[in-house]
Amino acid sequence: MPFLLFGIASIVFLVSRLTPGDPLVTIVGERNLNNPEIVAAAKARWGLDQSVLTQYGHYMKNLLHGDMGTSFTTREPVVHDLWLRLPATLELTIYALFGGVIVGVTLGVLAARHRNKFIDHIARFFALMGSSLPAFWAGLLLLYVFYARLGWLPGPGRIDPRGVAPDKVTGFYTVDSLLQGDFALFKDSVMHLILPATVLGWGVVGIVSRLVRASLLDEFSMDYVRVGRAMGLRERTVVNQHALRNALLPTITIVAFTFAFLLTGAVLTETVFSWPGVGSYAVDASRNLDYPAIIGVTLLGGTAFLLTNLFSDIAYAFADPRIRLS
């Protein structure tokens, strides 16, 4: 785990040095190259006058102190920007993940119970759509239909543009608005969440439902399922109480993968919905070739992936008595 973190940082360092020519371009930006003052300051700060190895050492040291450099576009430290935007992404991601897992498990169970029947085919189509839809396009389409045409749901953003964001406690608008007792604001933030969370969660539905279906079908061929039936258990009990418990174990592992998928989706979904999170930050950074910001988000993404992996291992160990007790 620490090794992987170290490796991630190293890869990111490597990537940041991929730029053809002078790495200074990466750090100070092209337009500042002619300004000797800035160049000198940057050289001194990042130790560019020293060997690559020393530079690498400096880079690691800065990173340990939580320094990822300064964004060209916002003129703020990247760490500060990320910290500011993380809650928006987390809020969106968590709702999408929960919604996606609930719908995905339901759909997977239905598909497995009605294997090769009509329901199974519908579920398969719905699932494969989830992993085939370009999120940025689906977002546009949904906005066009439900916001521009039908007017049922609000447009982009986290809340109505005329509204005032709740005081920051958790950074989750749905939580903070309730904390200050503002139900209108709560409703507004929920309505704003519906479309982006749907776009993002659909992909999760795809992954989870296919996996639950496959592992449930595996479980159905197990002896204990036949024993359950032979003992006169209801089919619902056999599926929900017996087989699903086992089938959900691999689903826990897939959550880490799903999280990476969500980050991927968030990058595009946030852009379409002008969601002020880490994803749209990354896209803005890429469009402006804001290297420190891109690198910072990449590092954050890698670390987040590692953490969810670790979390899923722990969760797995808790859920599976064979591991828990040994």
């Binding site: 090794f3 992987l4 490796g7 991630i8 190293s10 890869i11 990111v12 990537v15 940041s16 991929l18 730029t19 053809p20 990466t26 085919h121 398969r124 189509f125 494969l128 759509m129 992993s131 085939s132 839809l133 370009p134 999120a135 940025f136 396009w137 689906a138 546009l140 389409l141 906005l143 066009y144 521009a148 296919r210 993968f257 990476a260 998928f261 980050l263 991927t264 990058v267 595009l268 852009t271 379409v272 990354a282 896209v283 950074a285 890429s286 469009r287 070739l289 290297y291 891109i294 690198i295 988000v297 990449t298 993404g301 890698g302 992936f305 590692l306 992996n309």
Partner: protein
């Protein structure tokens, strides 16, 4: 030498017997294959039969779908349908090159790693682990941004992001196959190690890689479009699906501009996903990662 060869033939790995249409090629998977073939044909032949130039203004601006312009025209008066067809000439070759290069690179690393083991394996696999710890799009974005935006650099970035999947997959397979009896017996009669790897191990270990590559083809099409949408891949005015959707997004109320390329992406990716899903069920292969 002849002696070894004849012995090799006697204990050659079993081959799958094929007759008629394979079991997985039916229903939606068959439709998927037809859709893929159709798109490949479009990509190969479109310059010879589309009535419009994809880059030139050929009509009024922002006109909705009509018989003259099946998917309308965009803000520069270009025919959206023609541009969408032309888009396949970017997406399909890019995805093809990315997948093939990644499979080759991944095969080399995975085969060496799995077959020889030891410290080579340890080093290579740690590198694979680290690369796979990044969400693909973020790493691809970072690499493309560092190399400079453009289709070529996006392609390089995608290969760099994608190959570890196959390396890990193939390595696991090679390790499993390596322990089968016919490999051990080939070793015992003195077949060269490289020959064993090439003739005995790889053919048996390849199925999951091919199944996954099929499914990933759609994902790479999606990633290519995504990178272009962000502005790191193909740039306007080139008729690339992701770039077209970016343009369409600025003309929000002319819904057809973004709809056509979006449907094209959906069609291609869905076709590959259905095909991959059928292959996975049929060959009983677990998804990568």
């Amino acid at each position: 030498m002849t002696h070894v060869n004849s012995a090799t033939d006697v204990i050659a790995p079993p081959r799958r017997l094929r007759k008629g249409r394979p079991e997985w090629l039916r229903g939606p998977a068959l439709v998927g294959v037809i859709a893929i073939v159709a798109w490949v044909l479009v990509a190969l032949t479109v310059p010879w039969w589309t009535p419009y130039d994809p880059l030139a203004s050929v009509g009024d601006r922002l006109v909705g779908p009509s018989l003259k312009h099946l998917m309308g025209t965009d803000q520069l008066g270009r025919d959206v349908f023609t541009r969408t067809l032309w888009g396949s000439r970017t997406s399909l070759p890019v995805a093809f090159v990315v997948i093939v290069s990644s499979v080759i690179l991944g095969t080399l690393v995975g085969a060496v790693s799995g077959f020889f083991g030891g410290w080579i394996d340890a080093v290579l696999m740690r590198f694979v682990d680290i690369t796979m710890a990044f969400p693909p799009i973020l790493l691809a974005m970072a690499i493309t941004a560092s190399l400079g935006p453009g289709v070529r650099n996006a392609l390089i970035a995608m290969v760099l992001v994608w190959w570890p999947i196959y390396a890990r997959l193939l390595r696991a397979q090679v390790i499993a196959v390596k322990q089968r009896e016919y490999v051990e017996s080939a070793e015992a009669i003195g077949v060269k190690r490289f020959t064993i790897l090439r003739r005995y191990v790889l053919p048996m270990a390849y199925t999951p890689v091919l199944v996954n590559a099929t499914m990933d083809f759609g994902q790479v099409v999606l990633l290519t479009a995504s990178l272009s949408f962000i502005g790191l891949g193909a740039r306007p005015p080139s008729p690339e699906w992701g770039a077209m959707i970016t343009e369409g997004a600025t003309q929000f109320y002319s819904w057809w501009i973004a709809t056509a390329p979006g449907l094209a992406i959906l069609m291609v990716v869905l076709a590959f996903n259905y095909l991959g899903d059928a292959l996975r069920d049929s060959f009983d292969v677990k998804a990568g990662l």
